[in-house]
């Protein structure tokens, strides 16, 4: 099953849209030297276009299609109401430079979302601007840099990063001009305290820690880790990729984190969009909040017109005051010592609307239940699957766990083979070969929105695949056979680069 490239559907003169006729007198065009010659875009009808994209969508697997236990990505169900919310024209059709009096609804939503994230995390300030988790990390590292520099401590340029960290952590470190030191994990999957102690010095800017970590384990040494890093003058950055396990369970700021990014697309049910847009707001303690990127939204109490809700002028005439009522007014504000803006405008506003909707519908108890059930689902699967696959860190996990993708009695079978065989059963494979500290890693995150039936079906399928691996390993090497394409030649793709349609 393949679908032609859109250009292959093209026929000269066809088109899919109608546009209004020019209703003003035309002006002279600019000189020819400034104009283009041709424009090689496809020419298709609207029906061609619709069928093409419907066919393409059918070649895709999404959470709405089936189980998607892609570890570290939190592929939970995203409620449909979120989609309707962000498309309300009062939100979707507003320009970022409109005067503040014409966007009080947007500003209020952003302000309240900042407050919600502060409540959940314990931080004192939040900026919604970062576009994604990776950008949130860069933001955090730049804030640490700005903090140390503001204290005349510019030689602190080393970040400690555990060996289980996402690749974005070290890359963000380099982008900010810092160096990194990799820390070992201990036998229980926690940060090794002796290795940490050995690397502390007055050059330490801080530490980046994902908690729960990428093994799905809550770091049991955390209180000691944060104390040691703080005593050495360093800051604790939390990678909030795994916050889905912690809502209402702990507040990162209380655990000693100084700053952290949230992944709205993971934790707060704004869908992943096929790889974006995400959203990566950053929270910070009072000592770091003034370095946040911005603008952020602040509120002030002011006198509003009792009928229209508009702000009354400051020089409101005596006697007109009783027309007004006290209310909140929202405006954009740049934190005093901000690292600057990390993108244009104020962040992924449309994504923020979805996260706001989700938090309002769940409330504190509902969000705590989300984390509780995410952890329950993961532990349930772990309990069943550790009987069929090696579990290198055998302890209670949080929202995800990591198996070794190998089967006793089937030496040639690799994690990749198991993953590709899962595709034949209509299940998206777990994350492969990450974290790097587990050989042949299969990182499984079921999320809280999956039912026991789905989990049981997945477990049975995994057990069946282990059996197949012993009895007929070729089935796994050949997989997938039930997907739109068979295994793809990635080496050829990199050697003979074809990055655009060439006719």
């Amino acid at each position: 099953m393949t679908e032609p490239i859109i250009y292959e559907l093209s026929a000269p003169g066809r088109r899919a849209v109608s546009l209004p006729v020019l209703d003003v007198a035309p002006s002279d065009l600019p000189p020819t030297m400034l104009l283009r010659d041709g424009l090689d875009l496809p020419e298709v009808s609207e029906l061609d276009l619709v069928r093409h994209y419907v066919h393409l969508s059918q070649l895709n697997h999404g959470v709405d299609v089936g189980f998607y236990p892609l570890g570290s990505c939190t592929m939970k169900y995203s409620p449909k109401v979120n989609e309707d919310a962000s498309r309300l024209s009062g939100f979707a059709a507003t320009h970022p430079y409109q005067p503040e009096e014409s966007v009080q609804g947007n500003l209020r939503l952003m302000y309240e979302l900042q407050e919600f994230l502060k409540s959940l995390s314990g931080f004192d300030g939040v900026s919604l601007q970062p576009a994604a988790g990776a950008q949130g990390e860069l933001t955090g590292v730049l804030m640490m840099r700005a903090y140390h520099q503001s204290r005349g401590d510019a030689r602190r340029n080393v970040l400690l990063i555990p060996d289980s960290a996402h690749g974005t952590n070290p890359a963000s470190t380099t982008m900010a001009g810092f160096e990194m030191v990799e820390l070992k994990s201990d036998a229980r999957g926690n940060v090794a305290l002796d290795d940490l102690a050995a690397h502390l010095s007055d050059r330490i800017a801080g530490m980046m820690l994902t908690n729960p970590n990428t093994l799905g384990l809550f770091d049991q040494n955390l209180p000691q880790v944060t104390r040691l890093v703080h005593e050495a003058g360093g800051l604790m950055y939390g990678d909030g990729a795994n916050f889905n396990a912690l809502m209402g369970v702990v507040k990162p700021a209380e655990l000693g984190f100084d700053l952290m990014h949230f992944n709205l697309h993971k934790t707060f049910s704004t869908p992943h969009g096929g790889g974006g847009p995400g959203s990566g707001p950053v929270g910070a303690t009072v000592a770091l909040a003034e370095f946040l990127p911005g603008p952020i939204v602040v509120s002030e109490t002011t006198l509003l017109d009792a009928v229209t809700g508009e702000r009354l002028p400051e020089d409101v005439v005596d006697g007109e005051q009783d027309m007004g009522v006290e209310g909140l007014w929202y405006r954009l504000w740049m934190p005093r010592r901000s690292i600057g803006r990390v993108k244009s405008f104020y962040g992924h506003f449309g994504v923020c609307v979805k996260a706001y909707t989700y938090i309002r519908m769940l409330g504190a108890a509902g969000l705590t239940d989300v984390s509780r059930m995410a952890v329950l689902n993961a532990n349930y699967l772990q309990a069943i699957l550790k009987e069929a696959y090696p579990l290198p860190y055998d302890r209670v996990c949080m929202h995800e766990f990591v198996l070794e993708g190998r089967v006793e009695g089937a030496p040639d079978v690799r994690a990749l083979d198991i993953s590709k065989r899962l595709i034949d059963f209509g299940i998206h494979p777990p994350t492969n070969y990450f974290p790097l500290i587990v050989p042949e890693a299969l990182m499984i995150e079921p999320t809280e929105t999956e039912s026991k039936q789905t989990l049981d079906h997945f477990a049975e399928t995994m057990i069946r695949i282990a059996q197949e691996a012993r009895e007929n390993p070729q089935l796994l090497h050949d997989a997938p056979v039930n997907a739109p394409v068979r295994r793809l030649d990635e080496v050829r793709a990199a050697r003979r680069l074809v990055l655009r349609w060439e006719g």
Binding site: I6, A16, A25, P26, L29, P30, L35, R36, L39, L41, P42, E43, V44, L56, S57, N60, H61, G62, V63, Y68, K76, S89, H95, Q98, F116, A131, Q135, E137, R145, G167, A171, T173, M175, A176, G248, V249, V250, P271, G273, G274, G275, I339, R341, V342, S344, H348, R360, S371, M373, L376, A383, V396, H428, S451, D478, V485, R486, A493, L499, W501
Partner: protein, 448 residues
């Protein structure tokens, strides 16, 4: 609520299988008790019906562009989006997927991005497009880092035009604040293209210009690349995708990197985001480019298929040796751009560009005739132009909004002290002749 499917019976069975009594035992197995289950201060939850009422009220506290004429542009544009775009985006097989790590299950996303890359190459005249960045501003920051990386850090000077979007320039500075590089050129509007070229030397990694520039002007950049390349520096051009429906694309004047804000291509204006930064370069630089990239290949049976490729450039392989930490693209926004470009096609995009051009000129010509206002009609411009106003722009805009229900243009004095009392007016195909006439009358009325 919480979209949780667990029944009481199932919960009991699951806990029994794990071997604990309560779900909280699992949490308390590793979370320190002293910190567990803190008080969370959030409003009481509401039902779906109630949240939609609340959100409708909040959204209606805004003045949205469906209700008033808008002449604001300055990097975010109110363009027509055909219905077909949102209907394709609404296919949840697309929007509930993630980065296509498993290509056999993600051919839809992969082929859609491959087609996006193909159409962006056609539009810009460039050889290679990646799968996109967060927005135009971050795409420019990535271009600077890439140019530094092409020179392996040996050149640490970047020349930047003052008529690049001010927020892009700010973003470049934020991204590079730890990199020990010098960014020059944009401190005075007096630095035109010839002045900027004179600043390019043997220490310069790249020259960056925007075309049409932030003031809406169409620049003649022929011959510029040659002068930049004489110093072995890279020419980076930020361009507007709708303008490329009629204007010479950066590939034609030999740009090394071309990028821009893709929002005008079928993406909602959505109060500034999510948008999409398109990013293109010459093929010889592809291994220095950040961001996801989709390539064509074949499967085990020789059938055409698509995969993420050149992953060895990226953070999950290179870790601290990667030049960028980006790990996603703006896939859904790229899909919107692709559907928009295919829907518009060859003739449609050209028509949109011409509608913008002629309407903007109609507005500029009329405003130029008003007493007290001044427009430089001698410089070629696309859909935005600068108006010198007789009163402060903030006052003018307030009056336009409150007395006439019009969202006026961008106050250039906020970012260029030289342009106090200057307004940047944007006109697109969405502005009817009647709206333009109303604007002109209002401008006249306010100062009369």
């Amino acid at each position: 609520m919480g979209y949780l499917p667990h029944t009481e019976d199932e919960l009991r069975a699951m806990l029994r299988r794990i071997g604990v009594e309560h779900a909280d035992d699992l949490l308390l197995a590793s979370v320190p008790r002293a910190y567990a289950f803190p008080e969370i201060d959030l409003p009481e939850p509401v039902s779906e019906m109630e949240i939609m009422t609340e959100l409708r009220e909040m959204s209606e506290a805004n003045t949205d562009l469906q209700r008033v004429p808008c002449f604001l542009g300055a990097g975010a544009y109110h363009h027509f989006v055909p219905s077909v775009v949102d209907h394709v985006l609404g296919r949840s097989e697309f929007y509930t997927a993630y980065t296509p790590y498993q290509p056999e299950m993600s051919q839809g996303t992969l082929q859609a991005i491959f087609e996006y890359q193909s159409m962006i190459c056609a539009l810009t005249g460039m050889e290679v497009s990646n799968a996109s960045h967060y927005d135009g501003a971050t795409a420019m920051a990535e271009a600077v880092i890439m140019a530094i990386s092409v020179w392996r850090g040996r050149r640490r000077k970047v020349v930047m035009s003052p008529t690049i979007h001010p927020e892009y320039r700010e973003t470049v500075r934020t991204y590079t604040q730890g990199m020990d590089i010098a960014i020059i050129g944009d401190y005075s509007l007096g630095n035109d293209i010839p002045a900027l070229v004179d600043m390019v030397d043997g220490d310069t990694a790249c020259l960056i210009v925007q075309n049409p520039d932030f003031l809406g002007r169409i620049l003649d950049l022929s011959g510029l690349a040659e002068r930049v390349h004489a110093h072995k520096a890279l020419l980076v051009v930020a361009c507007d995708p709708i303008s490329l429906g009629m204007l010479k694309p950066p590939g034609d004047y030999d740009a090394d990197i071309a990028l821009g804000e893709g929002q005008p291509l079928g993406n909602a204006i959505s109060y500034g985001g999510p948008y999409i930064g398109f990013f293109t370069c010459k093929k010889r630089y592809v291994r220095r480019m950040a961001g996801r990239l989709v390539g064509q290949t074949v499967d085990a049976e020789g059938k055409r298929g698509f995969v993420l490729t050149l992953a060895t450039r990226e953070q999950h392989i290179r870790r601290e040796r990667a030049t960028s930490n980006i790990c996603t693209n703006q896939a859904l926004n790229a899909l919107a751009a692709a559907v928009y470009l295919a829907a518009m096609g060859k003739s449609g995009l050209a028509q949109v560009a011409r509608l913008c051009y002629h309407k903007a000129h109609y507005a500029a010509n009329a405003i130029a005739l008003l007493d007290g206002y001044d427009v430089d009609l001698a410089v070629p411009f696309f859909r935005e132009f600068v108006v010198r106003c007789p009163i402060p722009v903030a006052d003018l805009n307030q009056d336009l909004y409150e007395s006439y229900g019009i969202l006026g243009g961008y106050d250039l004095g906020q970012v260029y002290p030289e342009l106090e009392d200057h307004m940047l007016i944007s006109v697109t195909e969405m502005n009817t002749r009647q709206e333009i006439d109303e604007l002109v009358e209002a401008l006249e009325g306010i100062v009369r």
